[in-house]
């Protein structure tokens, strides 16, 4: 595939640049803080899409990758004096490897059993970390101030981390786009449609599923490292927050599972909606009720999400907006 001749590739580049430059050029910190959350959501949704949308496996506990990435990164920086860059890369690789090993076991389960197992994994890891003294137990890990000094002071460090998060967002979209257009992706889609038929057609299903699971762990773990570095601390309840995991499913379903555009648009819209509800007085945490209702409505009436609906109205859009 000639990537540079694809309009969709340039669309991803444009969106990424827009996210990077909009707050950076004006030095607008409020806008940055809004966009960082939206970028994180897009990262979570895009990578979750590899499992839900491409492979047909509903991962309810995808946030475990984000949390582990955060913990590994902060631990390496705080206790072993690593720099941010090697720390997030290492955290991503280790999380991905763990997912690979775990995947061979847990992906033998299908449907609701797989979904339940993924919740179990997240909760088990959360409890383990909350009782794991080297990682601070329930108190978590705090970054020493010197960690920011190495990056030119806190103010500069926060901008750098923001740009890095936007970069990871761009890479997530690019990754899911490339997978969708590849032979590997075709195999995953075949698994989504009918796993047994895919196997008879020659798709090495156990390996393919595990690779998808492992791949969907890497960038969220890197993003977790960056996000919690930016926060300066990480605690179990925030790192392994099951709510966010379920919200990520809503984002993917809202935008349209199996499409790159859908996961991004779904995440963006959900972040806007959530922000709106959170600022309304007396409605704190009400966004979860909305999220639940939204999920129900999508599954019942528009299982293809926003993109599914758009594709129905303009079938030619399928070729342009992947």
């Amino acid at each position: 595939m000639k990537l540079l001749s694809r309009p969709f590739f340039w669309l991803i580049v444009a969106v990424t640049l827009l996210y990077a430059l909009l707050p950076y050029l004006g030095g607008n910190i409020t806008l940055r803080e809004t966009l960082v959350l939206s970028a994180i959501y897009i990262i979570l949704a895009a990578n979750l899409n590899l499992m839900i949308g491409y492979t047909g496996y509903v991962n309810f506990g995808s946030i475990v990758f984000f949390g582990l990435g955060g913990y590994l990164t902060l631990w390496l920086i705080a206790s072993h004096h690593w720099g941010l860059y090697p720390a997030v890369l290492f955290a991503g690789l280790v999380t991905s490897l763990l997912a690979f090993l775990l995947g061979f076991g847990v992906l033998r389960l299908r449907g609701a059993y797989f979904a339940l197992a993924t919740i179990g994994i997240n909760e088990a890891v959360k409890d383990f970390v909350a009782n794991f003294e080297p990682w601070g137990g329930a108190e978590g890990i705090f970054l020493p101030f010197t960690a920011f000094k190495a990056m030119g002071g806190p103010a500069k460090a926060l901008w750098t981390v923001y740009l890095l998060i936007v970069l990871v967002m761009g890479l997530s979209l690019l990754l899911t786009y490339l997978v969708k257009r590849s032979k590997f992706g075709l195999g995953l889609f075949a698994i989504r449609e009918d796993e047994d038929a895919a196997m008879v057609l020659g798709v090495k299903t156990p390996l393919y599923k595990t690779l998808a699971y492992s791949l969907s762990a890497f960038l969220p773990a890197v993003a977790g490292g960056l996000y919690f570095f930016k926060n300066g601390s990480v605690i179990p309840d925030e790192a392994f927050n099951l709510h966010l995991s379920i919200e990520a499913i809503v984002m993917v379903m809202l935008g349209g599972q199996g499409t790159v555009t859908g996961s991004a648009v779904g995440a963006f819209l959900y972040e806007r909606l959530r922000g709106l509800l959170l600022t309304l007085p007396g409605l704190s945490n009400f966004h979860l009720v909305i999220a639940g209702a939204l999920l129900l409505l999508i599954i019942l009436f528009a299982p293809g999400g926003l993109m599914g609906w758009l594709y129905r109205v303009w079938p030619r859009l399928r070729r342009v907006l992947e």
Binding site: S182, K183, L186, G187, F189, A190, R192, E193, D194, D196, A197, A198, M199, V200, L201, G202, V203, K204, T205
Partner: protein, 252 residues
Amino acid sequence: MSRVILEVERVTKAFGGLLAVNDVSFQMHEGEILGLIGPNGAGKTTLFNLINGVYKPTKGHIRFRGEDITGLPPYEVVKKGLARTHQIVRPLNEMTVLENVVVGACFGADNLGLEPAARVAEEVLEFVGLADFHETLAGKLNLAQKKRLEVARALAAQPKLLLLDEVLAGLNPAEVERMLGVIRKIREQGISILMIEHIMQAIMSLSDRIVVLNFGQKLAEGTPEEVASDPRVIEAYLGDPEMAKKILEEEA
């Protein structure tokens, strides 16, 4: 006689106490069309599942082109050049007809990349008469078209041996004729065919030889004429040996 392509040797499959396939042996030669018949529940589809690796045999061996493939998973078996269709069609519904066949070509014996696989898929769709449906979602096809899609996907894998599981079932007479034409054309390409079929007229006219299963065991084997006049076979289908005798006498 040409070379043996498939050898099923004393294969048994037990589900709990039930012997779905019981000590079945037979051989197939290159270029041959072998029919597999038997009453419902005789173990025909189970035998297919054993040959292409969906199930592991409890006992016995399966050899394909001289190589022992017993217990290999289906995705390895298809790469050796042994493809199959399903009795109950299994289209990848939300993918286009072309994508369905590209999956077959990509992950088949030649392990093609996406672009060469697309070329193979187009040829195969032309071959089975689905050339006008490239962009149709597979779920939207009618049954006859879905059956042809099953055949196309299996053919795209570039098999040496094709297992066809009731590709004629549920088709109207015109569609049956059309499918028979496709099967004859496949044979002309030198691909061996092992087929399960209930439409007797079709299988009798297509097959070089026929194997009859009943209650998981091999009941008879021979040319279509030999099998059709075998009292045990008639009994298996009609259930009454006296009736079988009478029919045979009347025919004589």
